[in-house]
């Protein structure tokens, strides 16, 4: 007879079994010997996982760590494409221990959740740090943080995507496919629509006595639609399925077919507009919400990462044009007074939303740019202390904004962009309204942006660029590109859409060596910029 862990709970035996399991014998061997088959995997709130976490921290402490923390992550993923039908599941357990010795960080990670491995990783993290600490002195101050005690948080989602039958998901996606194909001239992109779901459970413990567990979801989808009208081929992508901290309701909780119909109307209009070549010059430009979100993220979202600004990523993706943080804070004008950029990791549905970050910090909501002036940087516990000079002057508390993150416990936590929000304008204005009020200029939908290694100079490109005359889209400009410098771009901001026009997009970003990719959300309204430089990116010198 098999006895499940739940049965043991009923019998009140669980605590005892947990303690026995920590004796160093592999867990499954123990389980086998006891004649029980523990349900795999255990829920993250199981006390046995806490004991594992504490064992790692203990091992690091007794090996000489001044500070140590551990993350255990259990990550499940499920990906779909309906045609040709394919679905893939993945499940990974990871554990990573970080130790601080004399100002030097060591990190050790593996996929093995066993007591002995916890001890090995704790010791190895210290070994890594100690060996480096043989070098010249390095000072690290960790910003203090209220210690979280045994708390659990589950990201609120309406429908857990892993409790939905894979068949239902495929059916739903196939339905969207047929819906698109039902309209003459329209077809969905190859292998589309796509859907991907992830749920990650995490346990965190630190040598300061912190312990939390949390369960975080991420859902995303992709649907591109092509249209052939007359001799013209045009295409667009649904922009409402970008990565979000939501469940299956990302798909079922919004009027996707209505959005598809609207995109189709837009594509029909695109196909009916005459084509024009690029006329290089400077124009007044209306950008849709997605373009503004992308611009804000790739310029200021990148440049306000404090580790980048201080050169910690110099050998990887680069530094920042905001390169003197202490002098620039509170003084440096990054853009027009219309521009206010805030950050958080708490908004419902945000792709970077958590209750606690990878250092046990409860992230706060903070303002990076207020009315055009640089007010703050993204920080972790280590980097928050780098702002000590200016913080003292401004009489501010030294605290981490909670930007520590990593794809899983196999990766060391580092500073990653939180959810960002470009605050809307005070007047009710949307994309169509901004276009209607433009006498002559250009409008852009869905621009992609490539920045340099300081977030300073950018090249934007889009296949959906319009010439505007007397408030109307009169032509599509083929192959247009946009060259800009971040400070001039944001100083040229002349209008922002109102609250109603704000849209949220999940964006990915990659950073570090070895590189890590994580997601965050950026909310923005459409905006109007003046003196926007339009070029033909394929034209050589």
């Amino acid at each position: 007879m098999m006895i499940s862990r739940r049965d043991l709970v009923k019998l009140g035996l669980k605590a005892g079994v947990g303690a026995t399991l920590l004796s160093g014998v592999p867990r499954w061997a123990q389980a086998k010997a006891l004649g029980i088959a523990p349900e795999m995997p255990l829920p993250i709130t199981d006390p046995w996982i806490k004991e594992l976490a504490l064992r790692a921290v203990e091992a690091a402490r007794s090996a000489g760590a001044m500070y140590a923390d551990v993350r255990l992550t259990h990550t499940r993923g499920r990906g779909f494409s309906p045609f040709p039908t394919s679905v893939g599941d993945s499940e990974r357990l990871s554990v990573g221990v970080r130790a601080l010795v004399d100002g030097y960080w060591g990190f050790a990670a593996s996929p093995i959740w066993q007591p002995d491995e916890m001890a090995r990783l704790g010791r190895e993290a210290v070994n890594q740090a100690k060996v480096m600490a043989m070098g010249p002195r390095r000072q690290i101050d960790l910003a203090s943080v209220p210690v979280v005690h045994d708390e659990h948080w589950t990201m609120p989602v309406e429908i857990d995507p892993f409790e939905v039958s894979p068949f239902e998901v495929t059916d739903f996606l196939m339905g969207l496919r047929h819906f698109v194909k039902g309209f003459s001239g329209f077809k969905p992109g190859d292998y589309q629509p796509l859907a991907h779901f992830q749920v990650q459970e995490k346990a965190f413990a630190s040598s300061e006595g912190a312990y939390y567990t949390q369960r975080v979801y991420r859902s995303l989808g992709e649907l591109k639609i092509g249209y052939e009208g007359g001799a013209r081929k045009v295409g667009g992508a649904l922009d409402t399925l970008t990565p979000a901290g939501l469940g299956w309701e990302l798909f079922t909780g919004q009027a996707i077919r209505e959005q598809i119909r609207q995109l189709m109307e837009e594509l029909k209009e695109d196909a009916s507009l005459p084509l024009k070549p690029v006329e290089v010059g400077r124009y007044e430009v209306v950008c849709d919400a997605q373009t503004v979100a992308t611009l804000a993220d790739r310029t200021l979202g990148t440049a306000t990462q404090l580790d980048r600004a201080l050169g910690f990523e110099a050998n990887a993706s680069g530094t920042s044009y905001l390169n003197a943080p202490l002098e620039m804070l509170g003084r440096f004008e990054v853009g027009s007074p219309l521009l206010t950029l805030t950050a958080n990791r708490s908004e419902r549905g945000g792709a970077a939303t958590v209750a606690w970050d990878d250092e046990g910090v409860r992230p706060d909501e903070f303002t990076l740019v207020r009315e055009g002036t640089l007010e703050d940087f993204q920080t972790t516990r280590e980097s928050a202390a780098w702002l000590v000079d200016s913080s003292t002057k401004a009489n501010r508390e030294i605290r981490s904004h909670g930007c520590a993150a990593a794809p899983s416990a196999i990766n060391v936590p580092m500073l990653h962009t939180p959810n960002l929000r470009v605050e809307p304008g005070s007047e009710a204005l949307d994309f169509d309204g901004a276009v209607a009020s433009l006498e002559e200029g250009i409008a852009i939908r869905h621009m992609g942006v490539d920045m340099d290694f300081q977030g300073l100079n950018g090249l934007g490109q889009s296949s959906r660029v319009y010439e505007i005359k007397d408030g109307k889209r009169v032509a599509m400009i083929q192959g247009a590109g946009f060259l800009f410098r971040a400070p001039e771009l944001w100083k040229g901001l002349v209008a922002l859409g109102g609250e109603e026009s704000v849209r949220r997009y999940g964006l990915g970003s990659s950073k570090g060596e070895p590189a890590q990719s994580v997601f965050h959300s950026v909310s923005a309204p459409p905006a109007v910029f003046e003196e926007f430089t339009v070029i033909d990116p394929k034209r050589k010198a």
């Binding site: 679905v87 599941d89 060591g106 990190f107 890594q128 480096m132 990523e313 390169n323 090249l459 050589k540």
Partner: protein
């Protein structure tokens, strides 16, 4: 596992036996097992900022029940319980996606192929590089920058990885073209080191880097890399702005390798026959395909691009069914070969697939860097390119940025540091405007993915005319 840090062949076979025993309901079972270990060290602002030791495994289980679809499940847990959960989940997926039209059996058994010969891809020195040794190397690379009052940042990594694929259809390694192909156990190492040195005011930046399967080679060069980055940083301070336009360029080997990325990736016969990419020629009604440019002169006749698996500087993991021996894609400017899969190889009567430029060498010329500079009236010296983006697949027109050192050459001498440019240029155009070629040397070309394979490149510096710089980038 903790002893070797990666899975051994015996580990992989044992895992497969357990997976097979767990399968229920017949059909096919295939697994792909990868494992890796990495020792990593990052530094910035002249101090080590992180030292780490990481490892992971991935077991990908594919179950295909009779008249079922493919069920793919991956896990990183090796215990019976987790493997059973993965097998059951894969079977559920397979059942869900009923596929009545699908035949049974993967690839038909074919002739046995021996493992092609290649130079070593496994270096005991790489696996043996201790944390202490890595720390010492990093500190020795930081020291010259710190002494000069500059900021050094860098990354050093040693890696070991293994891979094995097994399935129930064929018990011995057999050829096949699909993803079910068995692969013998392979293990390999990679070592890489790169450093960026900046001045305190952020007006100068220099870079140098090297990768190899062998840590000893990287280790031996570490001092030279650090010195080069320091020199470049010093020499690149306070750059002046130049007008965008066409310039004669002297591209250092790393810049050539960066620029060649879209070029070497484009060597694809099927793309050409489908009418995409730079190697399509004319539509042929008789065969219903595009004719490719095979046999035509496509670049400067001094350019040969080839790969010799026996060259210890070019060692890659040879695909089992691939054409053994050297491959030449471009020989003295003439397009000689494009990669193709085994199915094409069989049609051609070659019985092998032909690899693309995973690893490659561009032929050397006999002009030294000094001579290239001396013979330049006005031109730019480029350290490397960054943020490349392909703009046009047919012409390979690419945009990107210069980074970490750009200098003006006037009348045979380097005269000024120059602010970075965005370029808009095609590597094809550059290889048709070659003036001089130097000696090919190994460059920095590591794979980023932890289980990624080796991609060595040996590339010469090249002087070319009329390189198109389209806008000024004042980022450093």
């Amino acid at each position: 596992m903790s002893e070797t840090r990666i899975l051994t062949e015996a580990d992989c076979r044992e895992i497969f036996e357990r997976v097979k025993a767990l399968a229920r309901g017949g059909g096919e079972t295939a697994i792909s097992i990868t494992s890796w270990w990495q020792g990593e060290l990052r530094w910035a602002r002249n101090r080590v900022s992180l030292s780490s030791d990481r490892r992971d495994v991935e077991i990908s289980v594919t179950r295909t029940l009779e008249r079922g679809g493919r069920g793919d499940v991956t896990t990183n847990q090796l215990d019976d319980h987790s493997l059973e959960a993965a097998v059951r989940a894969a079977e559920r997926m397979s059942k869900l996606y009923h596929s009545p039209g699908r035949g049974f059996g993967f690839e038909p058994p074919q002739q046995k192929y021996p493992m092609p010969d290649s130079a070593p891809v496994w270096s005991p020195a790489t696996v043996g590089a201790s944390t202490l040794e890595r720390g010492e190397v990093a500190r020795s690379m930081i020291a010259p920058a710190e002494t000069a009052g500059l900021y050094s940042a860098g990354y050093l990594e040693v890696r070991a990885a293994s891979r094995m694929m097994l399935n129930t259809e064929v018990t011995d390694p057999q050829p096949g073209d699909g993803e079910y192909t068995q692969s013998s156990y392979v293990r390999w190492t990679q070592a890489q080191c790169s450093t960026t040195v900046r001045d305190a005011s952020g007006t100068g930046s220099g870079w140098a880097g090297l990768s190899s399967y062998d840590w000893d080679r990287v280790h031996d060069e570490a001092g030279a890399l650090a010195e080069r980055a320091v020199q470049k940083c010093k020499a690149s301070r306070n750059p002046v702005a130049l007008e965008p336009g066409r310039y004669t360029v002297i591209l250092e080997p790393q810049a050539v390798a960066d620029l060649m990325e879209p070029f070497v990736r484009s060597f694809d016969r099927l793309d050409a026959e489908d009418g995409s990419g730079p190697w399509k020629f004319t539509w042929d009604d008789a065969i219903g395909k595009w004719r490719s440019k095979l046999g035509l002169k496509v670049v400067d006749e001094r350019i040969t691009i080839s790969h010799d698996p026996m060259d210890p500087w070019q060692s890659i993991i040879m695909p089992r069914f691939d054409e053994p021996g050297p491959v030449t894609w471009i020989e003295r400017g003439v397009l000689k070969n494009l990669r193709y899969p085994l199915s094409t190889g069989l049609e051609l009567g070659r019985r092998h697939s032909l690899r693309g430029a995973v690893g490659y060498r561009i032929s050397s010329g006999d002009t030294s860097m000094e001579e290239m500079i001396r013979s330049t009236r006005r031109g730019l010296l480029v350290t490397r390119f960054s943020n490349l983006k392909l703009l046009d697949e047919d012409s390979l027109l690419t945009t990107g940025l210069t980074r970490d050192g750009l200098w003006l050459i006037e009348n045979g001498e380097i005269t000024k540091a120059v602010k970075n440019f965005r370029f808009t240029e095609s590597p094809l155009f550059v290889l048709n405007n070659v003036e001089q070629i130097g000696e090919a040397v190994p460059v920095f070309r590591p794979t980023k993915e932890e289980d990624g394979e080796l991609t060595p490149a040996i590339v010469p510096p090249i002087k070319a005319r009329d390189f198109s710089f389209t806008s000024l980038i004042d980022a450093v």
